[in-house]
């Protein structure tokens, strides 16, 4: 509601206004501050029941108040974006809000008491954002585009710095800027600090725009990696300015270039070193699972500070720490710790980003720093913009000669437009030494204006621009069903053909590295148990059991208690689709649990899932039309949600600051794998046993899903899909794990007449959805399926044991069960 927005704003205003004069009033009282205890003793006339101890809590209180205000600001901004058209990106709104707050503080104080100080920014606000970005970095995408990213980061930034600096100097010499106490070196210094694309701003703006992943990773990767260059350039020119013009000769310049190598690579290797440390640590933290999540943050921050201490690139250090440690840390830590880390990371990063933008706004309202020089400022804006465009197109043209998939012109336009400057530039500007650089305030003013211009104006226009240019983006929803289906089918086809061709030429390095990594690095850094769990089938089984458990509990709660009877009909009824309302009761519970983590970027809310499951079944038919319309929408929704992702779509949109999806993809992969294996097993069995596979499928039709076996069926094979699946998995699991190559399902001597690919089997339409029809592990006995898994460390054992227990049960229950001889 709009009223809540105003309420929040009012609260913030009130807080600031209230607290501030109080602070002013109290801190003026020096004597009280210095000697509180003494003071109290002197003036004590009676026992004070309550005293106002402002001076004790001043610093932390102020900090916390500002954090609180930032939180309220974010709340207001998000509410505003929901109820008013979201034209301005959140970051822009936060800056504007910062202006307002800054104005209030300034109005109360006549001086800006709250400034975004560089140390605060660099040591307390920036690290967590970078750590968050790198921890959730889609590694495959990043490394496959690393070449392009490095070119943009290194050469692009140098180009920007040099051209902007030189052009400004040229214009200064031409007299456009009037009288300034400034020289070439200082222009170059200014150029280097304004040249860098800012990761915080890029995330903030691009997150709302949803461009295609390659484009995003290029801009984002560049913004992360260019810190190496920025730091070097800044320090080099800073030193040169201090040295003075005449003392710079070839040796110094060479030292400058060498320092780049040291700083950049040193920072990266330091980060990798800390990543190794972190992985090793998490390998040993089995007994203190409660705090192992903390290590990620602590070690990450250590990486940052250590690099800063050694004057290496701190951002690069923490970036590589995050990138390299993700896989091992996620594998080693307990699931709960992994979740904790994810949530905490997002929380800290979001909070910091909010504060940064807010303070950027607040800092602006300060009469001391503003120096206006029209020429300088306007020319800077112009040059920054133009040279970004030129630089991007130039380097992309060079890159496209070597790239597998060339970067399109439209993407290049977005890339150049997306070169946003942000708080890092401001921080560097504020760090300038006034004595060496008399025009420091001018530079700060210009930097602030550039930042506001890029974040607010370019942020506002980014979305319309992307839409207008028809940049390739996330899923379109106006395709017809058949187009959607075929699009996905084509992706699968392409992925399959690429696999068949072995991605000729491209893959040798990646495969080599993967092998090295699996054998040596994972051995070192991952827990043995975690390494074992990478086995696909094992984890499929695990997930299946988890889902069974969840279903079991929901079903039990629905029926009132967990000790419900074994009756078939009762349990099966729930997953039959005829009873929409009952279904709605059970499914949403499950759906809600799962879909909290599966939101992804498609933003399908739980309500839409629930809506989807009901109408197609228990239709309130007010008319045929309404049914058709609903069906249509639902069909689209269904396709959208449930189509298996192809490999091409794997890394989509993992960068979102506010949503993150736990690897839904892995579940799909496992489902697909399961299914394929099952169908291959069917054909294996059919050819081996001469059993007509059709009958087996028929038996699983939902109408016949009863426990008792119809007498007419000749082959009384186990009718539990779950059972067969386990058996089936059991059959070729040892083979698959050991050989990894041979697939015994495909027999060397298949007779043509009986060999029928699974899809050609004469069945009734289609095998019904296994999830929907699968029998629950109704009773505690059934849950034995869960138990065997943990007992042995050998993954195959649990399958065998599970199979054995189920087999025993089957034998107990029916006399006529016969299992396929294995």
């Amino acid at each position: 509601m709009a009223s809540s927005v105003y309420l929040c704003l009012l609260r913030a205003v009130f807080l600031v206004c209230f607290v501030n004069p109080l602070i002013q009033g109290l801190s003026e009282d020096e004597s009280v501050f210095q000697n509180p205890h003494h003071q109290q003793e002197e003036n004590l006339t009676g026992l004070p029941i309550v005293t106002f101890k402002w001076h004790h809590v001043e610093t932390p209180y102020l900090v916390i108040i500002w954090v609180f205000v930032a939180g309220l600001a974010k709340l207001s901004v998000v509410e505003l974006n929901h109820h008013v058209i979201s034209v301005v990106p959140e970051s822009g709104l936060l800056i504007i809000l910062g202006f307002i707050l800054g104005g209030i503080v300034w109005g109360a104080d006549r001086a800006q008491t709250f400034k975004l100080l560089p140390p605060t920014f660099f040591y307390y606000l920036l690290p967590q954002i970078i750590l968050d970005a790198s921890y959730f970095m889609p590694n495959k995408l990043f490394f496959s585009n690393l070449g392009a990213i490095l070119i943009y980061a290194i050469f692009g930034t140098c180009w920007n710095a040099a051209t902007v600096g030189l052009s400004l100097w040229g214009c200064y010499e031409a007299g456009v800027m009037g009288n300034l106490d400034i020289g070439l070196l200082q222009f170059l210094l200014f150029g280097s600090l304004i040249a860098a694309v800012d990761p915080v701003a890029v995330i903030a703006v691009f997150e709302e725009v949803h461009v295609n992943e390659v484009l995003f990773i290029l801009v984002f990767g560049e913004s992360l990696l260019n810190d190496g260059v920025t730091v070097v350039l800044y320090n080099v020119f800073d030193a040169f300015v201090a040295l003075g013009g005449p003392r710079i000769d070839a040796a110094e310049i060479f030292k400058g270039i060498f320092s780049f190598v040291v700083v950049a690579f040193g920072g990266s290797f330091l980060g990798i070193g800390f990543a190794i440390l972190l992985s090793l640590l998490t390998r040993c933290t089995k007994h203190i699972q409660i705090i192992e999540a903390g290590f990620v943050f602590v070690v990450g921050y250590l990486a940052y500070l250590t690099a800063e201490m050694l004057s290496l690139s701190a951002i690069l250090s923490i970036t590589f720490c995050g990138i390299c440690c993700q896989k091992y840390v996620n594998a080693n830590m307990d699931e709960k710790s992994v979740t904790t880390v994810r949530h905490a990371m997002k929380l800290l990063a979001n909070g910091s980003e909010t504060m940064i933008f807010l303070f950027l706004g607040v800092t602006a309202i300060d009469t001391e720093i503003w120096v206006w020089n029209t020429g300088f400022i306007l020319l800077t804006l112009l040059f920054v913009f133009i040279y970004r465009i030129i630089g991007t197109f130039l380097f992309t043209w060079m890159l496209n000669k070597f790239r597998l998939v060339p970067i399109e012109v439209i993407d290049q336009v977005v890339m150049s437009y997306g070169g946003l400057r942000g708080a890092v530039a401001y921080g560097l500007a504020a760090l300038l030494d006034e004595d060496k650089i008399p025009e420091k305030n001018l530079m700060i003013s210009t930097t602030l204006i550039v930042v506001y211009f890029t974040v607010i104006l370019q942020g506002i226009t980014m979305k319309p621009l992307v839409q207008w240019l028809k940049v390739k983006r996330a899923a379109h929803s106006d395709l017809k069903l058949i187009e959607k289906l075929n699009n996905r089918a084509f992706d699968h086809i392409l992925a399959a053909v690429e696999d068949i061709c072995g991605r000729i030429g491209d893959n040798w390095w990646t495969r080599g590295w993967n092998r090295f990594e699996e054998n040596y690095i994972s051995w070192l850094l991952m827990k043995p148990k975690a390494r074992k769990n990478r086995d696909y089938l094992f984890s499929i089984f695990h997930k299946l059991n988890l889902e069974d458990a969840i279903n079991y509990v929901s079903e039990g709660e629905r029926q009132g208690s967990l000790a419900f009877s074994r009756s078939d009909e009762a349990a099966n009824v729930d997953f039959k689709k005829q009873f929409g309302s009952e279904f709605a009761d059970v499914m949403p519970n499950i759906m809600v649990d799962m879909s909290n983590y599966e939101l992804g970027i498609e933003h399908f809310s739980v309500t839409s899932i629930v809506k989807d499951t009901i109408p197609s079944v228990s239709l309130d038919i007010h008319g045929q039309d309404r049914k058709n319309a609903m069906d249509d929408i639902n069909a689209h929704h269904l396709l959208q949600q449930h189509l298996y992702r192809s490999r091409k779509h794997q890394h989509r949109h993992k960068y979102s600051r506010s949503h993150f999806s736990i690897n839904q993809n892995e579940d799909e992969v496992q489902e697909i794998f399961q299914r394929t294996m099952r169908s291959r097993l069917e054909s294996f069995k059919s050819t081996k046993m001469g059993v007509n596979p059709a009958k087996k499928i028929t038996k699983h039709h939902k109408k016949e899903l009863t426990h008792k076996m119809p007498n007419g069926h000749p082959d009384g094979t186990g009718h539990l899909y779950g059972d067969e699946e386990v058996e089936g998995l059991c059959v070729f699991l040892p083979h698959l794990i050991e050989a990894g190559i041979e697939n015994p399902v495909f027999l060397p001597d298949m007779d043509s007449p009986t060999h029928s690919p699974p899809w050609l089997m004469e069945t009734e339409a289609v095998a019904p959805s296994q999830r929907a029809q699968r029998r629950l592990p109704w009773t505690p006995n059934r849950l034995r399926r869960l138990a065997p898994m943990r007992i042995s460390t050998c993954s195959t054992d649990s399958f065998l044991m599970a199979d054995v227990s189920l087999t025993l049960e089957e034998h107990e229950e029916h006399s006529q069960t016969d299992h396929v001889e294995m």
């Binding site: 187009e483 053909v497 061709c501 000729i504 495909f746 060397p748 690919p757």
Partner: protein, 194 residues
């Protein structure tokens, strides 16, 4: 390029192959290397289990169908020629091909690509995708949470959209028409060489 030409010579009927498929010698050699790598027992032809050994194909919902597409009905082996010819469907379209009226359409033309895709759906090869066939495809491509009624409703909807002559099945022409807007050249091509 001495070694390459000698490899080329080892492959029978290379000239004809290159002519038909439009692959360059370098492509053919790469594909030959890959063929040999897949054909672990060195028999000179591939069987379904050679394809089955490719792990990633098991993770592909329609992987099995694509494997099946390599084997013409009745045959269980794929020789190098057939291998290359099938893969030729995925060669990027030549933009500046001179249109000779008498030459047959190249394998990688848009309509041949579409035919290949059509055949993946139409398993009984009657020239139409029936409702059942579509259901099977849908089942294999959709997650397991989708129930029967939902599947059928999607299938019905899909056929309704594409079926112009109201025969409850999608013929090749209707298939082609429904995919007019899709950039087939892009969607069904891969770069074979770096």
């Amino acid at each position: 390029m001495g070694s390459t030409s000698s490899t080329l010579l080892k492959i029978p009927n290379v000239e004809v192959l290159m002519q038909e498929t439009g692959f360059s010698p370098a492509h053919i050699i790469r594909l030959h290397d890959r063929f040999k790598a897949l054909d672990k027992e060195g028999r000179g032809h591939l069987c379904p289990q050679d394809f089955g050994a490719i792990k990633e194909l098991a993770m592909n919902p329609i992987g099995d169908r694509i494997i099946g597409a390599f084997f013409s009905p009745g045959k269980e082996t794929v020789d190098f020629h057939t291998f290359v010819k099938i893969l030729a469907h995925f060669r990027p379209v030549d933009k500046d091909r001179p249109k000779e009226p008498n030459s047959p359409e190249p394998i990688n033309s848009r309509s041949n690509k579409l035919k290949f895709a059509f055949q993946l759906y139409d398993q009984d090869k009657d020239g139409k995708i029936s409702r059942d066939e579509l259901l099977k495809v849908l089942r294999s491509m959709l997650g397991m949470q989708v129930t029967e009624e939902q599947l059928e409703s999607i299938a019905d909807r899909t056929i309704q959209e594409a079926d112009l002559d109201r025969d409850e099945a999608i013929s090749f022409e209707e298939f082609r028409k429904s995919l007019e807007k899709v950039n087939i050249d892009h969607k069904m091509s891969i770069r074979f060489l770096r």
